[in-house]
Symmetry: C2
Subunit: 187 residues, 2 copies
DNA sequence: GAGCGGGAGTGATCTACCTCACTTCAAATC
DNA sequence: GATTTGAAGTGAGGTAGATCACTCCCGCTC
């Protein structure tokens, strides 16, 4: 169990050693190789994933088979199909590995159990979720008001490491433009 | 203090009478008239608002003065500039009333106090925030993959009451199209 | 070292949507 | 009851970005 999950949690909500011991028991570590799926459309979604190493993308395919990226997740990020996870229904998105990955898996029942027993964890997830909400609001505003080039520049500014690690066509699929259009923008 | 806030909370996380008594003491009720601002860009954002009656819109203005609507909120919805609220910084958005409103206001310090003291409330806000996150993800997917007409149809289907209550030009500003384009779509 | 596949740039065309200008209509205001 | 105001439809023309087709290039594999 990587200790950095503890650091990640404690950056928001400190834990006692006993609490951490209890919490950490409910995560299971798994390794995936590049191109493997964490979640496939139509399948159940038993876990929320915390990325310990590597990188994944979460995306949908439209009726033309075109990919639209909902989220990238690298070290220290959480990722799953939250809709399917919370409601225990089938996945409507795909999540797969852009690199070899190590992830920590948390089942819904265990997350609820942890939250109930350790209030600091309920607080952690509340605050984490708030921050996620705020980030998505920012992305929506950018989609509504910015032209492609501005969206691209903001992305590079906010996540400079990202552009280094993923092919540009994926950035395009995240921004909502074609790779051709992105290629014509000066960065 | 409208009892329906209690019902709204208990739909997610039940409270004892004592807990509700404690929680409700921290909300203050205020009335606003149509066209009044709850939040103005540049001002501090002391409160999260729960709409008891009426309707508000949260929006940004771009450099051309064009309005982009982040959110509508009617009865039973929460609304504020969450970024400014959480971080106690200045608002980057406007929130104003589309109708006469009654809202319940909750200061950040009080929200944290309530969460700390009453775990059911921490749970309530955690789950509420998760649901909000999921809703924004859906909106982003729609912005990425759907043409204007599809986005419009989905909006009408998901919030049929909305279209009854607000002018179409506001729906356009929410969907990210001009009112002219929206007007040319058959609903 | 020839062949292959994925990432990326680019030209030519096409189109969904924007912009701007004008009109109609109904409700609010005097 | 005349006048203003805001919502909404519509036509003509412009543009950001999509689509499709092609090329180049680099890192693989056999």
């Amino acid at each position: 169990m990587p200790m950095d999950l503890r650091a990640h949690i404690e950056a928001i909500s400190p834990l006692t050693d006993a609490e951490w011991e209890f919490v950490s028991r409910h995560f299971t570590s798994r390794k995936f190789r590049k191109h493997q799926y964490l979640v496939q459309q139509g399948d159940p979604v038993p876990y929320d994933f915390w990325v310990a190493a590597g990188m994944v993308k979460a995306y949908v395919l439209d009726e033309n088979g075109k990919e639209h990226i909902l989220q990238f997740a690298m070290e220290d990020w959480w990722c799953t199909d939250y809709n399917a996870y919370q409601t225990q229904t089938k996945a409507s998105i795909f999540i797969d590995c852009l690199e070899n990955c190590e992830v920590l898996c948390l089942a819904l029942k265990d997350r609820e159990k942890i939250c109930k027993k350790v209030q600091a964890m309920e607080r952690f997830f509340r605050i984490k979720s708030n921050l996620g909400y705020i980030a998505l609001q920012k992305r929506i505003i950018s989609l509504l008001q910015d032209p492609a080039e501005t969206r691209f520049r903001k992305l590079l500014k906010q996540y400079p490491r990202l552009a280094q690690r993923v092919p540009k066509k994926h950035l395009a699929a995240y921004l909502g433009v074609t790779r051709e259009t992105l290629s014509r923008q000066k960065a």
